[in-house]
Symmetry: C2
Subunit: 125 residues, 2 copies
């Protein structure tokens, strides 16, 4: 795993963003000269290196964010796409309970918890 210029810029961009970015946003943020294939490949690499996480929203596109160690998740506006973080998903309790009842699983390695609604702006309309 090599710290190439492109990868560092990608990480810097995600760091600055604070919220998950779509591929297109990343591409624009990098100035549009970086090839999309490169962006996809680097995100894949950064994912398996444990630096970046892919976030699943209700869209058809992929979103990515830096991994920090707070277990944070997102509230997403179903109209404008605004993203806000939230913490406190009481993950451990839920997992304990889920595993106790589970027939097929003995451990959990990842989870996703996302909330959706209308942000104050969009709710007015």
């Amino acid at each position: 795993l090599k710290a190439t210029d492109g990868r560092l810029k990608l990480l810097a961009l995600l760091e600055k963003a604070k919220t998950p970015l779509s591929i297109k946003e990343i591409w624009q943020g990098l100035g549009r000269h970086v090839d999309l294939a490169t962006i996809y490949r680097n995100l894949e690499i950064l994912k398996s290196a444990g630096l970046v996480r892919q976030v699943e929203f209700q869209h058809d596109k992929a979103y990515f964010e830096l991994i920090d160690n707070h277990d944070h998740h997102h509230i997403v506006c179903q109209n404008c796409g605004r993203i806000e973080d939230f913490v406190g998903c009481s993950f451990d309790d839920v997992v304990d309970q889920a595993l106790r009842k589970s027939k097929w699983f003995r451990s959990i390695s990842e989870h996703q918890f996302e909330l959706f609604g209308l942000c104050n702006n969009c709710a007015k309309i």
Copy 2:
């Protein structure tokens, strides 16, 4: 909104399945003569009718399931894709807390909470 034969069969299929199905699974389950475009269109309609929910996993494909009123979620095997339900995501507490801290959101209309890991089969390998 009309209860056409195709839509009823689609609902019956989802009902029988118990777990979320991908488009391809639905297509196969219907016997492969129904056009994919029709399936996509009908799922969209059933979604806005509030009968079907689209579930977001870590894949690139769309998964769909019937909406029942239990607030249930899924544990997904990252290797073989096996899906098991779980309940008890303590949704209300989390939402209350999240909204209390939120700057942009006043209410939540949907949420997704999915767990990922290796099922007992795949963990052995």
